[in-house]
């Protein structure tokens, strides 16, 4: 078969010493970037572009960048689990059960399952890419504004239902998240909203600053208030590896997460986040003991982590087959390719087959490398929790401060970080879950923007959301989920009072 031929050719390219070296470098670098709170893969790739120009072969260049990209996916889950610091939007969901597991001394198990799940998902995702790339790409294109709206709305609903017990509090968090997202320039009307004349707010708040502040600094400030002496972050280390039981419980979660992530991740602009949400909600619904979710259920880590890795694999598809970048990191890779004279698009397979197959083959290699890299590190990371709070806390603050600062090189972002930290502290005191707020913040622009774009397209009629098949299906899903949630609420109320 042609595909087989291409793959074999690709492997012969990917397994040359220099490409193996660069895949490794990319993986290491990417993991480091993912672990360090604040620095994202897109920014890193941008910084490395001058170095990339020097590399003569485009294949090698992409191998390096791709390595950084999905290496950072692996690394991002580390901080989410250990420190409750989501490195990217797609890791927010991992924080929920991952951090709880770490607090219970099961950090090693969480990290291990995340690594294994990511590997399985990444590999299956790449296989899917190899076989189905063109079909998937066309599917991605069919997601116009109405479909994106419907999908984002489903995402919002799922985000709200994640929040513990109180629906009211969950909705408040969602509303606040949407409100924070509307600060800044509104792309549809061109007006600046809620900036009150502060010039730095013209571009709105940045996700990293918000998430680091609310999750990271909020946690630290709470810690400061609750103990007079500092102790280690977690005294129990427990088993460093996932047990057989963990593995058995998680395998279906990993598989399901992979499928969800692969398909949803193709959609440009939010695929990874939504796929992690869908996976979490799915696992919760299908679990034998759903009450464990939120307290450290391993499926709550395995599913979303697999989903976001599958999503990062499939986000390459629109780039390689259509020449459309789906997120900031892929956009950088796109830019580098163009400069090297390779135009990503449907002709990429024909014009530069070595690039296409070389990259895909290298992704297999990269995934294996990341697994080999990360599994032993799990033990090391788990030990990190032994470092006393007195040192960890200021170091985390310093890292996140620079992370925020480096986004736009303005000190205002650090002030925002502190502000969000105090806000996060308040939320904890008032028993709110910050997750839905952060997720609503990420999904907000997609919801609002797509809705207004759709209405412009349809001339004001809402029927556009129902006349298009994909959108209709998603709205239907939303209705089913909402009604289901309502029914659960009612049942709880009646059972407690009776």
């Amino acid at each position: 078969m042609e595909i087989f031929q291409g793959l074999i050719n690709g492997f012969s390219i990917a397994l040359t010493p220099i490409n193996i070296l660069f895949a490794f470098l990319g993986a290491v670098f990417g993991t480091a970037v993912g672990v360090l709170p604040g620095l994202g893969p897109a920014a890193t790739i941008a910084l490395l572009l001058p170095t990339i120009y020097v590399i003569s072969s485009p294949v090698t260049a992409i191998i390096l960048m791709a390595g950084i990209f999905y290496g950072s996916m692996y690394g991002g889950s580390t901080t989410s689990i250990l420190l409750n610091l989501p490195g990217e939007a797609a890791s927010v969901v991992t924080c929920i059960d991952g951090y709880k597991m770490a607090q219970k001394g099961r950090a090693g198990a969480a990290l291990g399952i995340a690594a294994i799940g990511s590997f399985v998902a990444g590999t299956i995702g790449i296989v899917g890419m190899t076989l189905f790339a063109p079909v998937i790409a066309t599917f991605a294109l069919s997601f116009g504004p109405p479909e994106k709206f419907s999908l984002a709305v489903v995402g919002l609903l799922l985000a709200v239902t994640l929040s513990g017990s109180s629906i009211v509090k969950g909705l408040v968090m969602m509303a606040l998240g949407l409100l924070l997202a509307s600060v800044g320039l509104d792309p549809i009307s061109g007006k600046t909203r809620l900036a009150f004349g502060v010039i730095e707010l013209q571009s709105g708040f940045d996700f990293v600053t918000l998430a680091m502040g609310v999750f990271g600094l909020g946690e630290i400030f709470s810690g400061l208030e609750s103990s007079i002496k500092s102790e280690a972050m977690s005294t129990k280390i427990g088993k460093v590896w996932p047990t057989m039981k963990d593995w058995v419980e998680s395998r279906m979660a990993i598989l399901r997460g992979t499928i969800v992530g692969f398909f949803v991740g193709v959609i440009p602009g939010g695929g990874a986040v939504i796929s992690s949400l869908v996976s979490y909600a799915m696992e919760k619904k299908l679990a034998k003991r759903p009450e464990e979710f939120g307290q450290g259920a391993i499926q709550g880590v395995a599913g979303p982590e697999s989903a976001n890795n599958a999503a990062s694999s499939s986000s390459f598809i629109p780039l390689l087959t259509l020449g459309i970048p789906g997120n900031a990191s892929i956009a950088m890779i796109f830019a580098a390719l163009l400069i090297k004279g390779v135009t990503p698009g449907p002709f990429l397979i024909q014009e530069h087959p070595d690039v296409f197959w070389g990259v895909i083959a290298s992704m297999y290699v990269g995934n294996v490398m990341l697994l080999i890299l990360n599994l032993p590190l799990v033990g090391v990371w788990a030990q990190l929790l032994r470092v006393p709070f007195g040192i960890m806390a200021p170091v985390i603050i310093l890292f996140t401060a620079i992370g925020s600062y480096s986004i736009q090189s303005q000190a205002f972002d650090i002030y925002s970080l502190v502000g969000f930290g105090l806000f996060g502290y308040l939320l904890r005191r008032l028993k709110f879950e910050p997750g839905p707020m952060v997720l609503a913040f990420v999904l907000g622009p997609m919801v609002e923007g797509s809705m207004r774009q759709s209405l412009l397209m349809s001339g004001g009629t809402f029927s556009i959301f129902l006349t298009r098949p994909i959108s209709l299906a998603l709205i239907g899903l939303f209705a089913v989920l909402a009604i289901g949630q309502f029914a659960v609420m009612l049942r709880k109320k009646t059972s407690t009072t009776s």
Partner: protein, 325 residues
């Protein structure tokens, strides 16, 4: 013991301040030059900047460092440059974009792009191209006009940023041709062209670097360019004027600028370096790969051009009564 220790600490502080204090006053440029691109990474301005960055070290002893500062439609990053020290180490790459030449006529700006910035050199002009999907019934601009007159329904149009160069060009076309154009803004050119590629809108506008890959892929048809003359990267595409519609815009101009007050020698040096880069044959190849035409202009000519372009846009906006709602 304590005193020795205190001495060590003091020494450390001195040591820490050293790397900063040792900035000797060498001839310009003595340290890397920052080029701020107030747009998202991967966009057409960013691609141009990266290409320039790549070739800069060939002609200058200090590298050019490209920094993305997107936000506020370009205003945030540009303002940062305006307020920086005019010593030639902070420059603005992308001068002449929508927020420089179009926005002043539409809303209040925190700075004056013509007075607060010095035009150093022009690199390129990204014209606005009107495109439609390959399966669309439209084959020329005249088809759009005819359809609109017959059906009386609005023509949905994908554009990049609200009130940006693309939006203005398409809106102007609509008003001049009597077509009810509804522009649907997206977050940047890439998103807009993707939506159009998916067939979700009837027509769209974009720059050649965004459009041509799709044309080559057989997904788009280019109907017209809005610049007064044909674009070098799309020689077979007629201008709007040729199609009978007397509207033109300068598209999105891309140049290098420095904050007002930058010394003349510095501007001269930068202008010279840019000229050398634009003459470099490898740079020409790279720009071809990016589908961006090289249109060099020196500092004085560029400054005059910017004034002209701003005035042209102002007149267009006034004549056709375009405003932000």
């Amino acid at each position: 013991m304590k005193r020795l220790f205190a001495l060590m600490v003091a020494a450390f502080f001195v040591f820490a301040a050293l790397p900063v204090a040792s900035m000797a006053q060498d001839a310009y440029p003595a340290k890397p030059i920052t080029a701020v691109v107030p747009m998202a990474a991967g966009g057409s301005s960013d691609l141009l900047a990266r290409a320039v960055e790549k070739f800069w070290t060939k002609y200058s002893k200090q590298p050019l460092v490209v920094v993305n500062k997107p936000g506020g439609g370009g205003v945030v990053g540009t303002e940062g440059v305006v307020r920086s020290k005019p010593d030639g180490y902070t420059l603005y790459l992308g001068y002449g974009s929508g927020h420089d030449v179009v926005m002043p006529s539409l809303q209040k700006m925190p700075y004056d792009p013509l007075k607060d910035l010095i035009a150093v050199a022009r690199l390129s002009i990204h014209s606005v191209v009107i495109v439609t999907g390959a399966n669309s019934p439209f084959n020329s601009v005249k088809d759009i006009i005819a359809w609109s007159k017959k059906e009386g329904k609005p023509v949905t149009t994908a554009v990049s940023v609200k009130a940006g160069a693309v939006d203005i060009a398409l809106t102007a076309f609509g008003k001049a041709a009597g077509v009810n154009i509804v522009t649907v803004p997206f977050q940047g050119g890439a998103e807009a062209t993707t939506a159009l590629a998916g067939g979700h809108l009837m027509i769209g506008g974009g720059h050649p670097s965004e459009i041509i890959p799709h044309i080559k892929a057989g997904r788009f048809k280019a109907l017209a360019v809005v610049t007064p003359e044909r674009d070098a990267t799309l020689p077979n595409v007629p201008t709007l004027k040729e199609e009978g519609i007397n509207v033109y815009t300068w598209g999105s101009i891309k140049g290098l600028a420095a904050p007002a007050g930058t010394p003349k020698e510095v501007v001269g040096y930068l202008e010279g370096t840019v000229k050398k880069i634009c003459d470099d044959p490898e740079f020409k190849t790279t720009m071809n790969n990016l589908f961006q035409p090289i249109m060099y202009q020196g500092s004085e000519d560029f400054a005059k051009f910017m004034k002209q372009a701003t005035a042209d846009y102002a007149k267009l906006i006034k004549d056709l009564d375009i405003k932000i709602e």
